[in-house]
Symmetry: C2
Subunit: 241 residues, 2 copies
């Protein structure tokens, strides 16, 4: 039986051996939720990058460029980090370069893994099914908040563990704690998270709507996976095949 | 109102500013529980050190020396890491050098703090009262397990937060998660922790008795605090005064 483990911060990733494992990279508010939404609305490729300048350079390659700083769209960019900005047909058939801090870091530090999958509540069952197929040991890598633990990514890890618990072993405390927290919170994730620091930061920016959207389970069948130098949606490729 | 925050691993300590803060160092199974027990049974000073050789050198200074490796007393030492080994009058009036890995690391990495207090369930109320008196911002530093998150230290953090919640602000997710987990677990901590990885490791070594002992609340009024180069029990000094 493969195992599942949870890493609460990119700052702890050096303690884990990623070789041969499937990493699920998670940044619920909002990087990975937004990436999943972009693919669901027809984006072809996503390039996650750390820096604004790096992101801007992708414009010359014909990409849409997306950047958020302090919760709002950065000047000179096509898109911000709200999933709602990717829904009006504007990303159909396009490649996008997105710069986010926490989420991109989690992805870039996971390059040793056998596979990197992008997780969010929005594509929870798609990721679950894929991990059941893969039969690799799994590490959920929470982006956290500036290196620190955050609740929303942990709750996602717990939701994934709940769905995988009969097919994966978990003998570590981070996985248990994630599952307990999710089971405490799941009846009303929005209210539960309203106390969390990051959600309160976002609420100050009046993006309740984004938070509520990102906490919905199983909205999309999108399955973004890292290939070579970018994310692609392997669920879309399956549909085309 | 001062604040309380929780750091889940010494590996994350660099993300926190310790200046002017009170750190509560925690390694429930078993370093800090054992230190509290040793002071309660008359130990005068405790020197926490990282390495066996360093610890052995303290024997020449007239100290008892204590060391555990892989859950049992190391050869050539007076004491192991079980709290029961410190109860039969043998530590009365003695200084002790103890080597433990996770717990000592948490203490040594916290030297920038204004005050370092040793926390355990056994002296929970004593630490609570002391923090209420101090009125400093508090950071609970969980020793964790080889740098990773563990449940027993997190549950202690939650217990402390529960007692301090009306006098301290907490606007971070690690503190909230600790409190939720403690509230889920507190009716039966022993059963709850039986699923945890570290407790199962210890149970393999047949030290159920230690685990059950270390989870008892408010057994001692001991208050070990770092002074200069060692831990001393400031509660004992108050009683003498």
């Amino acid at each position: 039986m493969p195992s599942i483990d949870v890493c609460y911060s990119p700052e702890l990733l050096h303690l884990y051996d990623l070789k041969g494992k499937a990493v699920v990279a998670v940044d619920i508010l909002r990087a990975t939720s937004t990436m999943v939404t972009a693919f669901a609305h027809g984006a072809t490729d996503i390039f996650p990058v750390m820096k604004l300048e790096e992101c801007q350079a992708f414009a010359e390659r014909g990409c849409l460029i997306a950047a958020e700083r302090d919760g709002i769209k950065a000047e000179g960019f096509d898109l911000g980090n709200s999933p709602f900005a990717y829904m009006n047909g504007n990303v159909q058939g396009k490649a996008i370069a997105i710069t986010t801090t926490n989420g991109t870091r989690a992805i870039h530090l996971s390059m040793e893994a056998e596979e990197i999958v992008i997780g969010s509540f929005l594509n929870l069952q798609a990721v679950t099914n894929h991990l059941l197929d893969l039969q690799l040991d799994v590490l959920v890598v929470c982006a956290g908040w500036k290196g620190k633990f955050n609740l929303e990514d942990t709750l996602y890890a717990g939701a994934l563990v709940e769905r995988l618990q009969h097919a994966f072993s978990f003998e570590n405390d981070a996985t248990l704690a994630s599952l307990y927290l999710y089971q405490t919170a799941k009846q009303d994730l929005v209210t539960f998270l309203r106390q969390s620091s990051h959600v309160r930061r976002l609420e100050n920016l009046e993006i309740h709507k984004d938070t509520e959207f990102c906490l919905q389970h199983d909205v999309y069948s999108t399955l973004p996976v890292w290939k070579n130098d970018r994310l692609v949606d392997i669920a879309a490729k399956r549909e085309l095949a």
